[in-house]
């Protein structure tokens, strides 16, 4: 059963995208990877359900 919400769910996508890009302003690549990892861990904790996280992991692994 698909439970990961892949429908549009963010009212202001440009605001959110800018936050994600701004997170990496003025930092080198290893630091960028670390910040992305922290962000994913925080969001995974917020989601909580391992099945949903597993679906997101599968989505990320798929090649377009």
């Amino acid at each position: 059963m698909a439970r990961l919400n892949t429908a549009k769910n963010i009212a202001s996508p440009d605001d959110v995208y800018e936050m994600l890009i701004d997170l990496h302003r003025d930092c080198d690549e290893p630091e960028s990877h670390r910040r992305n990892a922290k962000l994913i861990l925080a969001l995974a904790n917020h989601v909580g359900d391992p099945e949903i996280i597993a679906e997101a992991v599968a989505l990320a692994r798929r090649s377009a």
Binding site: T6, A7, I10, P13, D14, Y17, H24, N36, R62, A64
Partner: protein, 528 residues
Amino acid sequence: MNDAPGRKSGGETRRARGDFSAIRIHKRFEPSPTPQSGARHPIVIVGGGPVGMTLALDLGRRGHEIVILNQYDFIADGSKAICFSKRTLDIWNRLGVGRAMVEKGVSWNVGKVFRGARKEPIFQFDMLAQKDQEMPGFINLQQYWAEEILVDAAAALPNIDFRWGHQVAAIDLAENRLSVITDDGEYDLRADWIIAADGSKSPMRAMLGLDFEGRVFEDNFLIADVRFKEERPSERWFWFDPPWGGSSALLHKQPDDVWRLDFQLGWNIDRDAAKNDENVAARVRGMIGADHPFEKVWYSVYTFQCRRMKRFVHDRVIFVGDSAHLVSPFGARGCNGGVADVDNLGWKLDAVMRGADPALIETYNEEAIITADENILNSTRSTDFITPKSAVSAAFRSAVLDLAENYEFARPFVNSGRLSVAVSYPASELTTPDEDRWSGGVPPGSPALDAPLDGGWLLSRLGWEWKLLAAAPIKNAPLPVVILDDEKARARYALDGAGAYLIRPDQYVAARWKAFDPKKLEAARWLG
């Protein structure tokens, strides 16, 4: 470009108007004669582009004497603004030139975004989500055609004194005096209000030594305007990672079988080589097909900036359009932003010249800066998406484009330019926040929405002055009332019973009430 006025030379030799011989000409005009020095005018507009001309028409139609100084004695050819928004068309329609623009232009509403060789778009949008409005979502029209229509309309008004080949060489701010050079002399004139509509390099801004702050983007783009015959839908088509190479490209249809092709080139390139005919032709063939014949109209390479002045109003000198703010071209927010400026300014200047508190002009400074900041924000974000500035930013872009092919949630992140729409001013001091509970309608601080009305259109009924918009007649109304005796129109405004909207002369909603009472108008203190 050579926009510099003649050098001062201690007064012993006459200064010369700038040399504009490198500019290709669309249409030449007879230079206007040189008047006597010392005249005083209520309004002088410096700059005869679409923004200055729109203001001249607005104030001219309101009955004011206007002098407009154009340093050129021609309308320039070449690739400049081409996309004019619904809001700009609504404004031009109020000024009487909207239909002419739409008739000459190519109307479009839909934009499609493609990736690589995939035939189906990964994202698309509709610029006229609300149908049944007089004007289309967008038109494409070469700037010189728009200018010609504006020039013709201005020429029909005897109170607009349009001066071709009159270049401002100096300004004396204390005296509100301008020195002007023509081909056969020099003169000076004074003005109650001076409007600087003199473009991105604004000599007025330079002469006053004013600031201009913001970002310069390190990328080059190639514009190729080419002529070929083809039946394609009139839509905006954008490619990420196009199959013929490069990282993005854009296609727009213009009148007269001219197409605007726009290619991202990257930063470290040989600009001259990029625009030589052979290299451009290779890119054009990549986009339109190897065996499709085409004819060169105009090629140029451009880069861009997102900047604005700190303030647009400096005593009696008011900056509008590109002289006050610049954006990247993604989103068609340059010329449309400038037309929004003068639409905002026109009725305020009119009111002040008829005796209103000059502090009203400060609300132009406030609202035009809100507009400029929103345009700069959107065009900066688009630019950051289209031309990522770091490896991680490029990775996010690729991830969005990968996901967008299969997942709905990723598509709204795809940013090929957020196209110009009217900016709202909910927090402006001219806006009265809702005191009632509304669901739907047009919120205070937003532009009125068009709707069919009595066999015509609502916006044309709103016109030029403060108006009330109501579902039913208002007894002893303090202002002219437009009654929405049409169900569809009432629904667009969520209006019923004794409710009413107060509409500004620029057709923005100033306030609205579920139960109108003339006492409520006291809150709108600029009503005069």
